[in-house]
Symmetry: C2
């Protein structure tokens, strides 16, 4: 079963084989076909932007727009139009030259690519303030995702009903995950519990985790972890804010900063 090439696939990013240079003798059609085929190699940066495009498209669709040019869609999504076109070209050739993209069709294609045409059962572990906020957050249930299980370790919380669902005790984690077909787990526990929860859900077969706890989770290969971290974001903002402040007050050449840095 799935030898060599699976492993190769795993690391196969972007272009894969270095498409032959456009020597004038080679039939252009063959080259085209190859890059169209793309071998399932959509760049990570592109994948990260697809949800953005999807949201912009849904906005357009609600306002009844039937087709949209890359220029306009890029504007709505806040990106450069060349980037948008290149991103979409990784999915296939879904536009019409001289016209633009059919909004509904593009929504469908992006949704399909992102796997939103099926629905995903999501479990939330940890029902403190953040976990509750997530459970109640209607936005992400809207398309493709469904909260299928809630877990907490606190006996006072277990049994409580949230969004029409009882909170289960963490002891039943493995059993219920399996029974309800959960494939994505959201960790919203305190930092101290996060790694243990991760270990358990991974042992139960989960390979996609969204982590809100402020820790670096250690996971085996093949498990995807995405991290959302408030304090990190604030710290990045603070860095830039400080810089702006420095710039206004400090000397343009910034010699003082230097002196300070030097003697430290």
């Amino acid at each position: 079963m799935r030898p060599l090439f699976v492993i190769r696939r795993n690391r196969e990013r972007g272009r894969g084989a270095p498409v032959a240079p456009p020597s004038p003798g080679v039939p252009a059609k063959v080259i085209r076909r190859m890059s169209q085929a793309r071998e399932r190699g959509i760049p990570d940066a592109t994948v990260a932007r697809l949800p953005l495009y999807l949201r912009a498209l849904n906005g357009l669709a609600e306002r009844g727009t039937a087709t949209v040019s890359s220029e306009d869609l890029a504007l709505a999504a806040g990106v450069n139009s060349a980037k948008l076109r290149k991103d979409l070209s990784h999915l296939g050739s879904y536009g019409t030259r001289g016209v633009g993209y059919d909004v509904q069709y593009l929504i469908y294609q992006i949704s399909r690519e992102l796997g939103l045409t099926q629905d995903w059962a999501v479990a939330i572990v940890g029902l403190g303030n953040l976990g509750r906020a997530l459970a109640n957050y209607g936005g992400f249930v809207s398309r493709g995702f469904r909260v299928a299980a809630l877990f907490d370790a606190d006996p006072a919380v277990v049994g409580e009903r949230l969004v029409g669902m009882a909170v289960d005790h963490i002891d039943q984690l493995e059993e219920i995950l399996g029974r309800r077909g959960v494939s994505i787990v959201v960790i919203a526990t305190p930092a101290s519990a996060a790694q243990e929860v991760a270990d358990r859900v991974i042992a139960a077969g989960i390979t996609s985790i969204l982590n809100f706890a402020p820790v670096v989770l250690t996971v085996p290969d093949g498990v995807d972890v995405r991290k959302v971290d408030l304090s990190t974001e604030l710290q990045i903002l603070a860095f830039h804010e400080q810089r702006k402040a420095d710039r206004e007050a400090g000397s343009p050449i910034m010699t003082e900063d230097w002196a300070e840095a030097m003697d430290a």
Copy 2:
């Protein structure tokens, strides 16, 4: 006051002026000096990782570790050690060869670089489930950040007390932001209100926004917006999850997918 060069600075990412090509005649020392000097040009990718290092360091400090090698720290932060060293080298030369980094000293240096030695007054706008979770979230108050104001548009929520602070009505936004010296605003409103809130806080002089609402905010140059978006993260996970599923079930060559894609 601050003419031309301020604008230039604004767009000056990374290296700044296009360092002359490494023509063999140019004295290497000059180039060296320039990149060492860094002109306050810490790469964005590095800035984004500094909070991570800081957290790992705090963990080590709590356990009483005095010095740490780049190898160990990198392990704790979940990055490659060469990357860690290069990141830290952008801040200065704070390690000791043959020994490693002094944990306390490095904590101080990173904190200073991130601007965490001063404290930042943060306002939260929108106190639905998410806003409340953020207000209660102790983690980010810990170091450098302080919740200084809470706003909501709902009269039923205004006046309520959260984390020892009364919720103010959004009408008083500008006045209170100024009075309490707020410099970072967290938007946790519904999507429909987010742009208006952003416009108002920017008009009031705010230049750093952390946006939880699922919309692309349009802001003038000089304003930093960072976005945290649950549904985007879930969609990215779903994409990879789907891929993993395809890989197990589907044909390695993936001809079927093709047929399906073609007739659509």
